[in-house]
Each structure stands twice: as C-alpha cells, then as structure tokens.
Symmetry: C2
Subunit: 195 residues, 2 copies
DNA sequence: ACTCCACTAGATAGATCGCTCTAGCGGGAA
DNA sequence: TTCCCGCTAGAGCGATCTATCTAGTGGAGT
C-alpha cells in the first residue's frame, strides 16, 4: 500500500486542516473521518474523549509544530531582526500559496472556545505561552533585557495573529507586510537602545 | 411596558453578543430568539435571508458602531498618539469588565467564514476597510504621508486584533498593553520623522 | 365596522450533529 | 490451529441544527 500514515495521524492531520479552515464548531466529525479516509468508529477508538480530545490534541500538536517552525527560521537567520522579518514574510507566502486558508493553526479555535470550553482555552493558552517564551528567549539571547523581551514577544505575536485575520478577510498580504515591518523596526529599536 | 426596543433590534443585539462570544457556527438560531425574548417566527420575518443575512447585518451594524467608538475616542484625545493609547487601554478595560468575552465584534466571524462563506467574508472585509480608512485619515490629518498612514493603520489594527486573541486565550490584558505601547511608539516615531 | 398587513407564535420537517453500539477483520502468541 | 485484541467498519440513537409552514393577533386606514 505504499507510504502509509497511521489512521490516527490521518485523523489528526485532517482535523487540523478542517479546524483551521472552518473552525472547531464548524467542522463535523463525519467530515473529519471522510477527509481522513478513516472509518468513523476509528475516531472514537483513537480519541475516546471525542471531539474535545481531538480538539485538544490538534491544538497541542499543531502548536508544537509551529514552534519548531519558528525555531528553525530563527536558527537559520543571521540575527533576530532578520528572523522576525523572515517569519512574517514566510507567513505571507504561506497565505498566498494556500489561497488564504492556512494561517495560524489555532487562532480560530482560540477565539471560538475562549468563552465556551475551558479545557480547549487552556490548551490554546499553553501553546501561545510556549511561543511567547521561545520568542522572548531569543530576544534575551540577542541582548535585550528580560522584561523588554517579554513585551516584544507579546507585541510580535499580537501583530502576527492580527495580520492573519486581516489578510484572510481582505485577501491580501498587505497587513502582513505592514505588521512585519513594524515588528522588525520595533525589535531593531530595542537592540540599538541596548547596544 | 416601559422602554421597549423593537423585536428586530433585540434579535440583532442578541445575535451580536452570541456571535462575538460563541462564534457564528457555534450559535444556534433558537438560542438567539430565546436570548432576545422573541418568537422564533419573528426571526425569519425580519431576516428572511436566514442566518446568513442575520450574520451580515450583525457584521455591518457592529462594524459601524465600533467605527463610531473609534471616532469618538479620537475626537476626545488631544493628539493621535494619545488616541491610539486610549483605544488600546479602553479595549483592555472592556475585556476585564466583560470577563474577557467582549473583544472585537467581528473577529471570530471573520476567521470562521473567511474560507467558507464569501458573502460574510466580504462583509467583514468592508468593515475592516472602513476602520482602516478612518484610522489612516486621522494619521494623515496629523501630518503623516498617506502611504505611511496606511501602513500605520494596518499595523495598528493588526496589533489590536491579535492582542484580542491573546488576551482572551491567556485571560490577561498584558498583550493589549504591550501591543498598545508598541503601536503608540510607532505612531510617535512616524510623527517625529515628519516634523 | 371592516379590511389589510405587519408581526407574533410555535409546531414541525429534513438534515446533520456528537456519540454509542455491535459486528467483523487480521495478524501475532499460545 | 486457536485464541486474542487492536483496529476497522458503519448502522443507528437522541439531540439539535436551519428553515418552512400555518395560524392567530393587533392596530392603522378607509
């Protein structure tokens, strides 16, 4: 049967894509199993906690993957300013390549469940925190004081997430470019102040 | 019967609140009429286009209301930098006052429908555009070149929207404060460059 | 008084929701 | 072989979804 991913992975991957595109409440489990080419019963075998467990797993797995992507880009870049620029640029390219469907893997879920499902809300908070910590650590390594680094990480991620919303609604990467430029110059300013 | 709002307005108001809190797909029409204390049949009398028309009306009405709020704050503030600061501060206060339920009136819908419902996507794009135009106009009036003003408006709104996501997920206003400070200093820098 | 129509009121249809259930398949251990 | 069990497979349950339907109400216009 050639290269075969496990049924569980296919369900997870299909869920991640559908949740990202149509939202958590907007995605049906029947649809998930169809897209994953998996029997419906298998879903509840691998995810006995049902839709909520599936949602939580998607949030945490996608979050970890996105974190690794950030780490990879940051490691490749010569400095943090370039890293920030590369990240925004890459986000814009992904948006265009996927016809504005693939943006932040968890933003839609985060907004949907923030006031309705505490388990999933905590999962999104954990993921956001892991991203913020990673970014702040990078800024500190570049010589920026911890408190300022935390601030930079928060405004960097806010700008990125907000730009995703605007880009998808406007079907344009202009917001991503503007937000990226602003974030980069903010980091640059923080660096020159230190040096 | 005292002060009585019309049935249509009650349905619109209840929908806006529920969509904002639980999302578009996550809100049922039965729930809307219950919360609005309106008979179910009245919903389809006032909104013959069903849920989609209700969604579009909510987006456009909420969008216009939010625009007026921005205009009001900007008119009250002594300068644009203060206006930006006031807006972020006000957003943070609203989040706390509503237990992190009331943020951007259309962000959740915008993300949910961006890839699934073109009518609603266009409505959110129109609203975002109206906000961006208003902000850019204010920046131009303060002496910033048009192209730069547009960039500032984009990064300002991106920061605000993204901060809403992070604040609701983390249940903290820290992202709003960081994003607000960054946006304010960016506008300040744009002003000093001109002057 | 009579008509008319905007509006209220809610039962109900048909589809889909998340979830549970039983049955059967297939490969490794005894 | 025989047993076992992780996994596949999908029918079906009760609830809920959006939307439609008919019936009734109340007040303005003539």
């Amino acid at each position: 049967m050639g290269a075969m991913t496990s049924t569980k992975d296919r369900i997870l991957y299909a869920s991640a894509e559908l949740f990202r595109r149509k939202g958590y409440t907007g995605t049906g489990l029947k649809e998930v199993t169809t897209q994953a080419q998996a029997p419906f019963g298998s879903l509840y075998h691998h995810f006995p906690g049902g839709k909520e467990q599936l949602g939580e797993d998607v949030i945490r797995v996608s979050g970890a993957f996105f974190l690794q992507l950030f780490v990879f880009i940051a490691d490749e870049a010569p400095d943090v300013v370039t890293a920030v620029q590369d990240f925004f640029r890459g986000a814009g390219e992904t948006l265009v390549a996927t016809d504005y469907e693939d943006a932040c893997p968890i933003a839609v879920i985060a907004l949907e469940v923030a006031s309705t499902n505490e388990t999933l809300r905590v999962a999104t908070a954990d993921v956001f925190t892991s991203w913020l910590d990673e970014a702040a650590t990078r800024f500190v390594a570049a010589g920026i004081p911890a408190a300022r680094a935390r601030e930079l990480a928060l405004s960097f991620l806010s700008a990125l997430e907000g730009a995703f919303i605007l880009c998808r609604a406007l079907r344009s990467t202009e917001p991503m470019a503007a937000a990226g430029a602003a974030a980069a110059s903010e980091v640059r300013a923080a660096l020159t102040t230190v040096a």
